[in-house]
Amino acid sequence: MSISLTLVLQLIVNGLVVGGLLGLVALGLALIFGVIRVVNFAHGEFITLGAYLTWLIAGGLGLSPFIGIPVAFLFGALVGWVVQVLFIGRVMERPPLDSLMMTYSLSILGLGLFSFFFGGDFRSYSAGPNGDLRLAGVTVGLRSLSVLIVCVALGALVIMLLRSGRLGLAFRALAQNRDAAASCGINIRATERLAFSLAVGLAAVAGALISLIGTTTPGVGDDWLLEGFVVVVIGGMGSIPGALAGALLIGLLQSILGYALDDSWAKIITYLLLYLTLLTRPQGLLGSAMEM
């Protein structure tokens, strides 16, 4: 097997695209776990929601799939708000297993609804940018490039939001100590709703981007969710920098190992890494306490 510098660069670019999408998924999971302390099994369905919305916009209405990105974010955020108010918020004070079962039930419900309304077959559209960008022998398609740009931009925006401003401060305060945050005058319920809403919006954007480079089925979100969980565990549950670092690590690892060995081995090694992390560093690579 000959490996040139161009090939290595190509594999890195390929890994960054997958890593970017994983980062967006993991960002939402980490935000929900960090702020609300809920493991959100329904996150995959919010990804699917964004994918179907974009399919309806691009495949149904014949508009640009890029319109699907803000629409998915806004609609996803709205759905997230409603779900937090009607379901998750109501079991927050109960034992953790209740919220776990609640998100699991929502996941099953979502899967059923998508199957009912869209059927089992996958959906796809041809609209969107075609063509590619070539630099130093490395080729990246315009769709993949768009995905990468949106992921980086959103990741940067979320980090900025968390590091500065009152909302970021409220998120971080809740992540560190819920009671102390409440005693400081932070509106706990509103902050939790905003965190969940933002996370679901990000998941829906991930779905919109997945539909741009892939296909959409009722289970498309769940395919990404499992790896999203792997990323947040390796990066550190509830840690935003950890989620992003974990996503890049897994994206690159799968791209390089997928080439050097094969995709099955890339998966096996990824899950071995998860196992080793849980054994030797259960707080994850970058997680100390609730690091946001």
């Binding site: 594999l11 398609g141 296909t215 791209s255 080439y259």
Partner: protein, 392 residues
């Protein structure tokens, strides 16, 4: 009673009654022949399975309108297996026990056919695998009552490789991509051996079921210098592969994905569908009187063109009708007829080997040309477009 005690006899009879076990299976009454099917009317296969139902219903209506088979009307009972093999297995048992069917028309997909085979082999009721291309179902065990009635997956790449041999002078290498599932592996094995026999250099690349990321495989293919690609997996990963090849600006001279004959290929790929090859179990344009009559009847009933799913379902009905007409409505007689006879259907001339695998008709090769799919290769008058136009 011989050596059978009264208590034992009554026990056996009661047990047989409870389990719904009767003697040799025949039609319920002289005027009705009971046939059954489980179909994926809901769940992930529902979009395609509804076309199978339409094919069965059209055959049932036409047969009854023509006076039935041997004077007996046909009744096809269809249950919803929810796209679930386990449910299909339960429903096959129900069709046999409660509905007293003499034969079962196949469900949608190979996995559900595989599941139902377990039931029909035990109950000794023939099952016609209408939409079961996976020949490994028959290769890995000895099935006596289950028959494939679809072109075998072993020949998934055959038509395309013939075109590569004919048109692809000077090609460097053929890359075959396959899913690590029995049907796709069988197709790959046959294709690699066939390509080598024709003197075509060939590499094969496997991927895990469910995988949608083909970037690593594409890099391997690019680096190997292969300039012709044939994908032997399902439709969804095939679209993902095609998209990723476009994103990588990898333009093979010839490209097939076996499911490309699905009409939605154009929706998914737009103008980039041009030049892509696929294989098709059946085409509406096949020029035989029986096929034309089927297409016309279907269009009249459903107001649109039939898909291969409906054609295959209709052909399964034709096969069953031929068996009942020749040997009567008894399960064993139907089985014997199907196992040993050649029957002309709208799919072609049906025939099975001693394993129950269909060997009579094979896939047609199609290519997307000018926004529609055309039959190319074989006896077709339409020439294959070669090389494939570059991605747009």
């Amino acid at each position: 009673m011989g050596s059978l005690s009264r208590r034992r006899f009554l026990g056996s009879a009661a047990g047989a009654g409870l389990l719904g076990i009767a003697g040799p299976r025949t039609a319920h009454s002289a005027s009705t022949i009971n046939i059954g099917a489980s179909l994926s009317l809901t769940g992930r296969f529902s979009d395609s399975a509804k076309y199978v139902e339409e094919g069965y219903r059209l055959w049932e209506a036409q047969t009854n309108d023509a006076g039935g088979i041997g004077g007996s009307q046909v009744k096809v009972t269809i249950y919803d297996d929810q796209s679930n093999p386990d449910t299909g297995r339960v429903l096959a048992q129900r069709l046999i026990d409660r509905n007293g069917v003499v034969a079962i028309l196949g469900p949608y997909s190979s996995p559900i056919t595989d599941a139902e085979a377990v039931v029909v082999e035990r109950a000794q009721v023939p099952l016609i695998g209408t939409i079961a291309s996976d020949s490994s179902i028959w290769a890995r065990r000895n099935l006596k009552w289950t028959f494939q009635a679809f072109p075998s997956s072993n020949y998934d790449h055959e038509g395309f490789i013939k075109i590569v041999k004919e048109k692809g002078e000077g090609i460097k290498k053929l890359a075959i991509i396959f899913e690590q599932s029995p049907f796709s592996i069988a197709g790959k094995d046959w294709a690699v051996s066939y390509a080598k026999k024709l003197g075509i250099p060939v590499d094969a690349y496997g991927y895990a079921p469910g995988n949608q990321d083909f970037r690593s495989i594409i890099e391997h293919i690019v680096n190997s210098g292969a300039d012709v690609v044939s994908m032997g997996g399902y439709y969804q990963p095939s679209i993902a592969l095609t998209r990723q090849m476009m994103e990588r600006a990898f333009n093979p001279k010839g490209y097939q994905f076996i499911e490309a004959s699905d009409g939605v290929t154009k929706d998914a790929l737009g103008a980039n569908a041009e030049g892509i090859f696929g294989r098709s179990a059946w085409e509406a344009s096949t020029d035989t009187p029986e096929n034309k009559a089927f297409v016309a009847a279907y269009q009249k009933k459903y107001n649109r063109k039939p898909s291969y799913h409906s054609a295959s379902a209709y052909a399964a009905g034709q096969l069953l009708a031929a068996a009942i007409k020749a040997k009567g409505a008894k399960s064993e007689a139907i089985r014997d007829f199907i196992a040993t006879s050649s029957v002309d259907t709208i799919m072609g001339s049906f025939k099975v080997n001693d394993k129950g695998q269909q060997t009579g008709y094979r896939y047609l090769t199609i290519q997307w040309q000018g926004g529609t799919q055309k039959i190319v290769g074989g006896n077709s008058k339409t020439a294959a477009e070669w090389p494939k136009p570059a991605w747009k």
